[in-house]
């Protein structure tokens, strides 16, 4: 467990301290301390049910929607508290976007899918601003060339990989700082997965990305930092290369070599 504290390093974007999550009586995440650095891809890996998705959903407070779910500890986004009861989650979620496991475009046109967030937050005052924002978002998500002739078509008519990129375009249209991705490729074929992975690598230049994956090759390919979780505890968090070549913990070693999980 290494916490970087060299003064020349930039400030972490997201900080979690003693973060615990409970579902009713059952504790799902135990005292996690984590620093997410800006403009980096951080991967959460670990066996099923280890709490990686739950931890991810803490950051944009999606766990609040589950009635029996309770979170303790502190979370800071750029030094500001985002764990307290007074935090405006609407504001928070416009700064921390989310891409879900299954592509979930709205049953609306491609355009309306991307325009929904900006409209919600009033980001584009005029029609031409909105058009521009939709186009740049689709371009950044690498899907513009494929859909530019059919932005009026329903988003659900696209292929699975295109839908997922549409969802990424929709998430970045509200200009977030952080993108949370919850197993974004688990419902996609290998080619669509490769496209998304390339996209993640490009998006790294502008966004801080946290990705949950149970595909270790994917974590090794796309991330700079990797966090290994097991049974709700953060076992090891370090440079991805170190985790995959020379982990400090025995259980990390066991997991990445396929001995369990």
């Amino acid at each position: 467990m290494v916490i970087t504290s060299v003064s020349s390093n930039p400030q972490p974007t997201l900080v979690a301290r003693e973060l615990s999550v409970f579902y009713g009586e059952k504790q799902a995440v135990f005292d996690v301390d984590l620093d997410i650095m800006p403009r980096e891809v951080t991967a959460f890996i670990g066996p099923s049910g280890c709490g990686k998705s739950t931890l991810l959903r803490c950051f944009n407070r999606m766990n609040d929607l589950i009635e029996i779910c309770r979170t303790t500890g502190s979370m800071l986004l750029d030094g500001h508290d985002i764990a307290g009861p007074d935090v405006d989650v609407v504001q928070l979620r416009s700064r921390i976007g989310m891409v879900f496991q299954k592509p979930n475009p709205f049953p609306k046109s491609v355009y309306d899918n991307v325009a929904y967030g900006p409209r919600l937050h009033g980001l584009a005052p005029s029609r031409s601003d909105l058009d521009e924002l939709v186009e740049t978002s689709l371009r950044r998500a690498g899907i513009w060339d494929e859909v530019k002739d059919r932005v009026d078509q329903p988003g659900t008519s696209l292929s699975g990989g295109q839908q997922q990129r549409l969802c990424i375009a929709r998430a970045i249209a509200v200009r977030p700082d952080v993108l949370l991705m919850d197993e974004p490729c688990s419902a996609l074929d290998p080619i669509a997965t490769a496209t998304i992975e390339e996209l993640i690598d490009e998006l790294r230049s502008e966004y801080t990305i946290i990705i949950v994956t149970h595909n270790m090759q994917q974590a090794a390919r796309v991330s700079q930092k990797t966090a290994f979780l097991n049974l709700g505890r953060l076992i090891e968090f370090d440079e991805t290369t170190k985790i995959f070549t020379n982990p400090s913990e025995q259980s990390t070693q066991d997991y990445i070599t396929g001995r369990f999980g």
Partner: protein, 422 residues
């Protein structure tokens, strides 16, 4: 070696027998299904054929052409009865002048003819002092005979029309002064004691007004209740109790809703009796569970990923519901509402208590006017002894079925339309 070979063969044969039996069972089951559907379709065809064969005559009416002298003096005196009598005598000059003969003559045309003549004059005062050919409604026995519903071969005492009248009808036919014409009155008038004059417009308007009240009251309340229960209500004992009660309400006999309406809307709130506003309120009580249950099912069927995606973008729960979940649930919600409305359209029992199963001549002009509804009109006519009402009953059923068909068509159309947006 041989024994294992034999057992393999016998087990093969057993497997074949089993397969054959399963295939037979499958065919048998399909046959049962086809039989059941044929029976249902057969009953439907018999029902429709009987209704249509009885009812189509309700849309035409026998009319008699009179030559009427709109005498200025008689009109001034208001004796339209005398004007009518004169033209009848002119039409049948062979009739005697005895009281009984005169009554028989008057019995050839509808009892309302006198009022029709007055209305004609009032509508067009220029005809006073002229002689005009006017088509008037034939009386019920003449109408029924002309439509072939009365057997002329029966002895005179056993049929509702006399030999003399039959002779007069034959005379009219020869002169081309009797004909079956489209029954305008049926669609432009309210109920009447005389079957030839009775119309269904009053009941149609009454039903429409009551349904408007029902829709306006039950649709928003029903959908909002469904939204609240599905998306906002905490899961606890109270909401579970409410859910169970709503489900049970859907099975409560409708007459009970009528009693409730009588006690609450009429007696407590003092709403007008026999009026579409009170009837509509009772019907909306009845329709609410249907709308709530179908809307909840529709909302539950919307993938939670829509709401999740919206909230992930910073939408509040209310925004997520109204922007994404409700539109996606709209086809189901609308179908439920229209099915509820169709149920309400066919309901009589609760309206019995509200005084809407009533003889109402005037076509209602508003939500507080006395009125009746289509199924009540069917019931009232079916209960009347005059022969003419039998075909009116069937015709009214055709109209009612027509409205139901239109409503179901609307449900299908709306569902298609809203699903296209996806």
């Amino acid at each position: 070696m041989t024994s294992t070979g034999l057992s393999a063969i016998s087990s093969q044969a057993a497997a074949n027998r089993l397969l054959l039996r399963r295939k037979r069972a499958e065919r048998r089951f399909q046959l049962y299904g086809i039989l059941a559907i044929s029976a249902a379709v057969g009953f439907l065809i018999v029902f429709l054929a009987s209704i249509v064969s009885r009812g189509y005559m309700g849309f035409v009416q026998t009319e008699v052409q009179l030559t009427v002298n709109f005498d200025a003096e008689l009109i001034e005196a208001g004796s339209y009865r005398k004007i009518l009598r004169t033209s009848l005598v002119e039409l049948f000059p062979e009739a005697g002048s005895s009281r009984a003969e005169r009554r028989a003559l008057a019995g050839m045309v509808s009892a309302g003819t006198v009022f029709v003549l007055r209305e004609t004059v009032e509508a067009d005062p220029a005809i006073v002092g002229t002689v005009q050919d006017v088509w008037v409604l034939a009386s019920d026995p003449v109408d029924q005979f002309y439509k072939g519903r009365i057997d002329a071969a029966l002895p005179e005492g056993e049929r509702p029309i006399s030999d003399a009248s039959l002779a007069r009808i034959a005379g009219l036919e020869e002169a081309g002064r009797i004909a079956l014409r489209f029954n305008r009155n049926f669609f432009s008038r309210g109920d009447s004691r005389n079957p030839e004059e009775a119309g269904i417009l009053g009941a149609i308007v009454g039903s429409a007004l009551a349904l408007v009240v029902t829709l306006v009251v039950s649709f928003p309340i029903g959908v909002m209740t469904a939204v609240y229960l599905e998306a906002f209500a905490p899961r606890n004992r109270i909401t579970r109790l409410i859910e169970i009660n709503i489900n049970n309400l859907a099975a409560v006999p409708s007459i009970v809703f009528g009693l409730l309406g009588l006690a609450v809307f009429l007696n407590l709130f003092g709403l007008p009796r026999s009026a579409p506003v009170s009837g509509g309120l009772v019907l909306s009580l009845m329709t609410l569970p249907t709308i709530i249950i179908s809307s909840r099912a529709a909302i539950r069927a919307v993938p939670p990923s829509f709401a999740e995606a919206a909230m992930g973008l910073g939408a509040s729960r209310v925004q997520a519901i109204f922007h994404h979940v409700l539109p996606a649930a709209a086809p189901g919600t609308l179908t439920g509402a229209i099915i509820g409305m169709a149920q309400a359209l066919g309901e009589t029992a609760p309206l019995l208590m509200m005084g809407m199963v009533a003889f109402v001549v005037e076509v209602p002009g508003g939500f507080t006017d006395p009125s009746t509804v289509l199924p009540a009109q069917v019931y009232l006519w079916a209960d009347s002894p005059e022969r003419g009402f039998a075909e009116k009953t069937a015709a009214a059923i055709i109209v009612l079925l027509g409205f139901l068909l239109v409503m179901n068509g609307l449900a299908v159309y709306l569902r298609r339309k809203f699903e296209k947006q996806w």
